[in-house]
Structures are given as C-alpha cells and as structure tokens.
Symmetry: C3
Subunit: 255 residues, 3 copies
C-alpha cells in the first residue's frame, strides 16, 4: 500500500520534480516547487498560506521551494515563502513558517515549531519538540535537542526581536533556553536545562546556574562510552555527515 493518490488537493502553478510522491489527504497550495524525488507523506500541508490569504481577495501565495529528495513525514505543515535545500527529513507534525531559509540535509523532529523569518544552515538536526523563534540564525552541523527554545524578545511583549545565533558544530542540550541575542560560537556544548545569555567564544562548554563558560570544551574530560575524548565531536561521530567514512580531518582538508 503506497501512495494511493487519495484525497490530495492541488492548488495552481505547482512544479513537481521527477519521482515526487504525495501521500493521501495532503494539500499543496499555489506556487509550490518540489524537487526531484521528494516524498510528502499523508495529511501534510505544503505552501500553507500566510494571514492575508484569509482576508485579501488578491492574495498571491509566495513561492515555496523544497529541494530534491526531501522526506516530509505526515501531519507536517510548511508555509509558503519557505526555501529549503535538498535532503530535508522531517518527523511528524513539524511546522515551518514563512520565510524560513534552510540549507541541505536538515532534520526537523516531530512537533518542532520553526516560527519563520530565520536562517538554518546545512546538516542541522532539530530533534523533537524544539521551538525556534524568528530571527534565529543557525550555522552548519548544529544539533538542538528536545525542548530547546531559541527566544527573541528581551522585554516581552515588544516588537523588537533579537535572534539567537549558533555557530557551526555546536550542540544545545535538552531543555536549554537561549535568551534573546545569545551568541554561541562554533564547536561548543550547552548543558541541559540551563538558561543562557551573552556571547561565548568557540569551543566553549556552557553550564551552571547561572550559566557561564566553563572553559574549552575540547580540553574537558568528556569521554564517550568507547573511552575516547568525544569533543570535537566530528572526530567521533559521522553518521549522515559529509565526512562519513572519510574522517573529519581528511574531509576538511578537501574543502
């Protein structure tokens, strides 16, 4: 039982790459472009219109672009005006709002809410139940674990949004809340369930209450279960990464 083409609704001006598959009960609104080999599962909404759609007769849906080989799992909603690179994988019930720009090979976990007007690099892994505020800026190879929030309003409520910026290869552990304007450098680790503000240099372990930089992550005794010093993690983990099977240092030389 695969892709029965049951109760699919298409708007106008939709471009489907070769080999696109669309699940039952899915709606694709106007001006959506799906790359080659994209799979959209059941009950999704792609190109979800912005607010004016409901009130403005002349509303034109902004283009939505999803790159090649995406696998978008059921009940996911991607707004019009998003531009996402190739090899996106989503869990279920993900929301990606308007004007989200994401790179290639990203994973967005179930129930994750990306509130739009933000930039997400390549090979980012947002696990389940992540909340990304507008104006967030993520580098490449960043992971956010469950219940992480990237906030943006330092004096709530206001109309002045300051996004969080996270550098390449950094890891934000479960439940960490990054306050507006926080800047995390590259190759850093934020501990679980802490509240972080301020700016930190690269290769920093951020922990404690109140949170502070505890020193260079690469010099800390974080040993993985194989007994190896784990950070910088790309030396020890490559699953799904471009250096898979090559080694991180070898791969970097070739860049």
């Amino acid at each position: 039982m695969k892709f029965n083409k049951k109760n699919i609704t298409f708007g106008e001006n939709i471009t489907l790459g070769e080999g696109v598959r669309i699940g039952d009960n899915t709606t694709i609104y106007d001006n959506v472009i799906l790359g080659e080999g994209v799979t959209i599962c059941n009950d999704c909404i792609i190109g979800e219109p912005e607010n004016d759609y409901y009130s403005d007769e002349g509303y034109v849906n902004p283009p939505t672009f999803i790159g090649d080989h995406a696998l978008i799992r059921s009940h996911t909603i991607i707004y019009a005006g998003s531009h996402i690179g190739s090899h996106l994988t989503t869990g279920h019930r993900v929301t990606v709002r308007e004007n989200t720009v994401a790179g290639h090979h990203c994973m967005f976990g179930s129930h994750t809410d990306i509130q739009g007007h933000c930039e997400i690099g390549n090979y980012n892994r947002l696990h389940s139940h992540v909340n990304i505020g507008q104006k967030s800026l993520l580098g490449d190879y960043v992971s956010l674990y469950p219940f992480v929030a990237l906030t943006n309003d330092a004096t709530p409520p206001s109309d002045i949004l300051q996004g969080v910026k996270i550098g390449d290869y950094s890891q934000i552990s479960t439940g960490a809340i990054l306050l507006p304007g926080t800047v995390i450098g590259e190759f850093s680790l934020v501990a679980a369930n802490i509240t972080v503000s301020g700016a930190y240099p690269d290769d920093t372990f951020i922990a404690g209450v109140p949170a502070k930089g505890m020193g260079r992550l690469s010099e800390m005794p974080f040993f993985n279960a194989h007994g190896k010093k784990h950070y910088p993690w790309p030396m020890n983990f490559d699953e799904g990464m471009p250096w898979e099977g090559i080694g991180f240092e070898e791969w970097r030389k070739g860049l």
Copy 2:
C-alpha cells in the same frame, strides 16, 4: 484555491454564522455554534466529544461556542463544552479541552494544550508549546511564552487540583513552570525557565533559583531596544491591543 468544501463532515444541530468558512477534511460534531465570519482551516475537529461519547449510547454532545471572526488554523481540536469569545486566533495543532472558557481576542499558539476546566480572559497570548492545566485562571492581556506550564497537582498523583492564577498584564517567560496554587499579581514578569510557587503582589519581577520576588518590575532597569524603560509594557507595546493607536493611559481613562 480557497475552501473547496471537500471531505467536510457535519454532525447535527450546527449553527453557522454568516460568512463562516470551513477547510477540507474538517469535522464538526453535534451542537457547535460558530459566530459570524469564523474561519476553520483544514483538518480540524470542532466539538470533539468527551469520553462518554465512546461508551454511552445516549451521549449528547455539550454545546461548543466559538465567537465571531475566529481564525482557527489547521489540525486544531476544540472540544465540546468550550466557550470562546470573538476574534480567537489559533496556530496549528492546538488542543482546547472541555469546559474551557476564554474571552475575546485570544491567541493560542501551535502545539499548545489547554486541558480544560479553566478560565482564560481577554487578549491573552499563549505562544507555541504552552501547557495549561485544569483549574488555571488567567486575567486579561496575559502572555505565556513557549514551554510554559501551569500545573495543578501539588502531590502527584492526586485528585486534588489547585490551579495557577495570573493577574492582568502579566508575562510568563519561556520555560517557566508555575507550581500548583501559584498566584501572580498584575503587571508582573516571571523570568525564563524558573520554577515558581507562592503568591506575589502586583508589579513584581520574579526570578532566581529558587524563584523569588526581586522587587517592583516598574522600577527595574529593563530598557527596550528603543532605550525606553519597558515596564509597564502597555506604555510601549500596543500591537493588536485595544489601546492600539490611542495610548494605554488615554485608553484606560475611557474605560
């Protein structure tokens, strides 16, 4: 492509105000009243039955009332026995359970779960991923940010629920957890990611581990990005508020 009337399911005794629009794949159960100009998007369930529906042959669905000009976004579920004022806006996949009473001009963000048997005033903004326990009591102009939980059971598990009470104009920052019976006064601010219990006077900044009142919020040096002292916030923010374009003090005089 707008409101194709595809695969909509209606129960009995449904009252639709003028200009109601209903999205595809949406189910409206018995005894639902939708006001004028209400828009229900795709894949919603309105008047979701209570438990007895599944076991009791004689079950009668309690009335569900949604006031004029609501915009209910896709995948949202509103239970029978809810009564919601005008101008409700929801994100996606909101759950509003039975016996929720909400005022006018509320916004409930994506993935927010309101567990019913609670009262929510006017102009409340519940952002994404908020969890509202039974017996919660919210005033007017209250905002709850992502991952805020209003709890209700001081000795879990028990059958004795003590709700949280939040006064008008108060703001509960991302990830704050309010323990059962907490009382927040008016014009207060709860800091991000803290755990709060007890009762606090109006105009209090609540922060720290353990959380405590740090003094009068209006006297604290919270400057917004325009360089103005931000609290009381209604002096500095009016988007969507009844004092928009009038000024808070002028508007209050007219009450």
Copy 3:
C-alpha cells in the same frame, strides 16, 4: 454522528477484533492487529512504516499490535513494530515509534513523543508534551508530567545511547530532565524542572539545583489537601488503578 467509515484506508493483512471502530480519514497500514473493542478516532495513522518503506521495493511492514479496548484519540501516529497491551488511552497527536513495547492500561497524553526502542510497563501515565528517548525503561504505575524528557546521549551527538530507568510507582514532575543513564528507584518523586543524573535508592525525594536525594520520600511532610501524608501515594490515590476500591495494601496482599 459516530464512525461514518469515511475516507478510511486499509493496507493488507489487517486483523480487527470484535467491535473495533475506526474514525474518518484514518490510515491503517499492513500487518496491524487491533484487539477487541479498540477505538481509533479520526485522522490517525496506525502501523506507520519505518524508513525503508520509502526506498525499498521489498519492504515488509513489521507487525503492529494494539491490545483490547484501546481508545486512540485523533491525529495519533503509532509505528509498525510497536506492541501495546490492553486498555491503552491516548490523547491527540501522540507519536509512538517503532519497537515500543508498552504494557496494559497506559495513558499517553497529547503531543507526547515516544521515540521507540523502549519499554514501558503497566498503568503508566505520560501526560501531555512528554518526550521519551530510545532505550528508556519504565516500570509500572509511573507518571511523567508535561515537558519531562528522558534523554539518552551523554556526549551529543553520538551513537551510544544510555537510557533512563524509572522504578515502579515513581513520579517525575513537570519539566524534569533526566540525563542519560539516570536510575530512579521505586516509590520516588522527582521535583519539577530539575536536571537529574545518577542512581537513587527507592523511596527518594529528588530535588534541588544541582539535584540530589533529599531523603526518604515517605518520611517527608508532603501533606495532600485532605491533610494526609500523601506518600507512598498508592495509599491515597486509586483512580483507574487496580487497587481502586480495594485499598493498596489489601490489593498487594492478593498479588
């Protein structure tokens, strides 16, 4: 209006027990077994295929088993390869991923995400917005409250997962984050919003920043609203429990 059999999609080799009811717009994939009296509400997906389904022509969906008298509320997704005992109740938009084994009489709240490859005992109550990592191991009569996360990767990202283990009758309060490898004994209570690691004996109250065992829970002055010492809680709460109307001590004698 009940179970209209509208837009239901069935795969092959599905076994439906007597009295099974299936809601509109629900999809049941191949090799699903539903026990007697199971109710699946609208917009659910049961037997959701694993990844290989999308790429492997010869993919065979692993069997999914849901025991008698389950009530699975709308928008819930249960993966192929799950085995769940009788009397499951879910909220809305629950995700249960592959190779989840759960006992009888469990409740999984709305938006809860069980990431699979884990074992969940009997009479567990996972409230809304709970996040269960792979390799988690829950005893019987355990409750997890909103925004609880059971994590599993001590050096993220890595491929070495160490699950959390929770003993019978233990209660994990709202927002608590249990770090990889944490072991909570039986009859224990974890306070709200704390970060827990390490191993604890039975009957422990775990609280504080940093979290530690504060002593024997049964000896602490936790009085419920009826003025009774509440822990061990089964002496004071029996709703839906096998000792309901019998008394915990009497029931235990009969085991």
